[in-house]
Amino acid sequence: MFETKSGIFLIAGLGFFMLAFVVMALIPISIYSGESEQSVEEIAADGLTHEFVDLAERFPEKFNEYFGKPDPKSYAVALRRGHKIYVGEGCWHCHSQFVRPVSNEEQRWGSVSYASEYENELQRPVLFGTRRVGPDLIREAARRSNDWHIAHFYEPRYTVPTSVMPSYRWFFDDDGYPNRDGMSIITYIQWLGSWQPEYPYWTGEGPPPALKADAAPDAAGSEENV
């Protein structure tokens, strides 16, 4: 059995692989089978983020050209496109989407990640992430303004002088305003964590909320004081 073709083919090759697949894949699949996966349209039907509406108000002509009115339909289009860019540019190489219950991550980013928030089309394949060069993004919604993101995508060093993030000039038109891709990726980033009952407010710069008693953060300039 241990040295025969059939033993190796059937037991080691197929058998052990299937065993591992049953244990390590089918069990979690069955555990989470009760959670139905949300489509992007269903996400959009839950309501728009303020930041998406803000983009429409700030850049009315361009927004109208790219997406039309800020409604659930256009929101779904922008989210999908933003997600594709997030994946295609490899943003997930340096930004995780997963707050762990250890290493004080709750204090830095907000509540610990839970299973149901990954049950949607924009987590396909799931974007837990692989490395954190930049901060985690699953609690990013509304943490920073659209303006901050626009400046940051154009040249990350404008907002975070020590940043090693690439500049994404192709998210912008020649006049310096965000183009379709720019607005989509900002819509996507501002969606990450918008389902949370409470938005986190600490930007990761300056003293964290837990230490506020010792030193009150400079609310106005905390992002610049890096």
């Binding site: 080691a12 290493s103 049950e119 994404y168």
Partner: protein, 482 residues
């Protein structure tokens, strides 16, 4: 093993068994991709030290070039090299040629087309969000078909063999079954069928199984073949070979979830994956003991034979990564090192420090034989290749491991995020420098291969074909060191 081959009537002329041209073709493609993938990695690393030369240009987006680095290494460098070595080893081990040589050539060109399409696809922003599964969705089915054809092409001669099979063939059979299954699981299920945390579990299985069930069994199978042949000694213990194979087959597929510890994947499965990972380390120890038992008494080969040196340094690195893994997979270590450069260091040590080193040893052995030369254009360059690569690899590993600890503890201390970036920059500079040393080493080797090939065409280094028996092993193995 070798005597069997030599005495067999079928193998009276090994060249009827082995298509040497395809071995050379696959190995050359592998060398081309190691250069492309490493240059992409070097380019990407420049982003981290504020020296990226093409900032703000869409085509040169660093994130896209990172895909070229990881995909190029896995499917260009390692897969091509293994396919080349398998075309050499499988017919010799089974005494049957592959199913069809035309199929081999079809696979060769199809695989290169898949690679080119992958590189072009990811550079135009079509990647998928799964490490090593980034291949654009429209290439996945073609690559899947290619892997099935590879399995058929090699399994046919293996199934034709009668009687007991050598260790290498156990690993090869298993790898040819596992690889298409793993590829299908990772590239289709999370994309089309399963979402959410369960897909995370499958993604973890995929990235781990690609190393553990595709690269590792082929790598060890080739080691079990080439080490005894070069040393002219049998493997030390058949029993340990059995333990190593069956232990790997049982425990390795259970490891995947250890990539997402503290995630919403059920905790009991995370514990299971951790235990299975530590078990793999114990299995690996038996394999390492077996190979060091084999070389015992022939330690001089480490000095005199460059292939053996690459193989055994690779094995030392293998033991190191697996030992490291047994610790880093524990929840205690995970608190600090997850998401840091520690993991990046680990990945580089295992993919290049182990399998890359083995491939270099294989190339040193195989290339002169398929080019029919007795010596290298510049034997010294091969030594430079070894030392630049080895020292570069060690520096990169220690550098990234230390960087990971610095980052992890700064995060835990709730230091401003930018502090972790500032603290990492010196480490990232050293990474770029050590990577450059590795690349210079590969360039020297590639130049040496090219010049040797050119001279082999002109006949300057050519041995008379009748005297050259590719199954003949001189003590030195690589002719350069004779």
């Amino acid at each position: 093993m070798n005597d069997k081959i030599r005495n067999s009537a079928m193998a009276a002329d090994p060249r009827t068994l082995v298509d040497e041209k395809i071995v050379l073709a696959f190995l050359s493609a592998s060398l081309a991709y190691v250069l492309i993938a490493m240059l992409a990695g070097l380019l990407y690393s420049l982003q981290f030290i504020d020296m990226y030369p093409f900032a703000g240009i869409e085509f040169w987006s660093p994130g896209r070039w990172r895909f070229v680095h990881t995909q190029g290494v896995a499917y260009g460098f390692i897969a091509n090299a293994f396919l080349g070595a398998l075309h050499w080893a499988v017919p010799r081990l089974t005494r049957h040629p592959v199913l069809d040589r035309r199929l081999s050539w079809f696979i060769f060109f199809a695989w290169q087309a898949i690679l080119v399409a992958t590189v072009v696809g990811v550079l135009f922003g079509e990647a998928q969000a799964l490490e090593w599964g980034e291949t654009p969705v429209w290439i996945d089915p073609v690559a899947q078909l290619g892997l099935i054809l590879v399995a058929i092409n090699f399994l046919t001669p293996i199934l034709k063999t009668k009687g007991p099979m050598y260790v290498s063939l156990w690993y090869f059979i298993a790898a040819f079954i596992w690889t298409p299954l793993v590829y299908a699981m990772g590239n289709f299920l999370p994309e089309y069928v399963i979402g959410g945390s369960a897909a995370g579990a499958i993604g973890g299985l995929f990235i781990h199984d690609l190393v553990g069930l595709f690269v590792t069994p082929l790598g060890w199978g080739l080691m079990y073949y080439f080490v005894p042949i070069i040393l002219k000694k049998p493997i030390w213990s058949h029993g340990l070979s059995l333990v190593g194979f069956w232990g790997l087959a049982f425990f390795y597929p259970l490891n995947g979830i250890h990539h997402f510890l503290y995630s919403p994947i059920p905790m009991f499965l995370q514990y299971g994956a951790i235990i299975a990972t530590i078990a793999v380390e114990l299995v690996v120890t038996t394999v390492i003991i077996n190979f060091f038992g084999t070389i015992y008494g022939r330690g001089d080969a480490l000095r005199s034979n460059l292939s053996i040196r690459w193989f055994y340094i690779g094995m030392v690195f293998y033991f190191t990564t697996c030992l490291q893994c047994a610790f880093q997979t524990t929840l205690t270590f995970q608190r600090i090192i997850h998401f840091t450069d520690w993991v990046v260091g680990h990945a580089h040590l295992v993919m290049f420090g182990v399998f890359g080193f083995w491939i270099m040893g294989l190339m040193l052995y195989l290339l002169p034989r398929v080019m029919h030369v007795d010596e290298w254009y510049r034997p010294r360059w091969n030594h430079w290749h070894f030392w630049l690569t080895g020292i570069g690899m060690l520096i990169m590993f220690f550098d990234l491991t230390s960087a990971g600890l610095v980052q992890g503890f700064l995060w835990k201390a709730l230091a401003p995020w930018s502090d972790s970036i500032t603290a990492s920059k010196p480490f990232w500079l050293i990474r770029t420098i050590s990577g450059t040393a590795i690349i210079i080493g590969q360039m020297l080797f590639i130049a040496n291969v090219f010049m040797t090939w050119r001279l082999s065409k002109s006949g300057a280094l050519q041995s008379t074909p009748t005297q050259h028996d590719p199954t003949h092993e001189d003590d030195a193995g690589a002719p350069a060191l004779a």
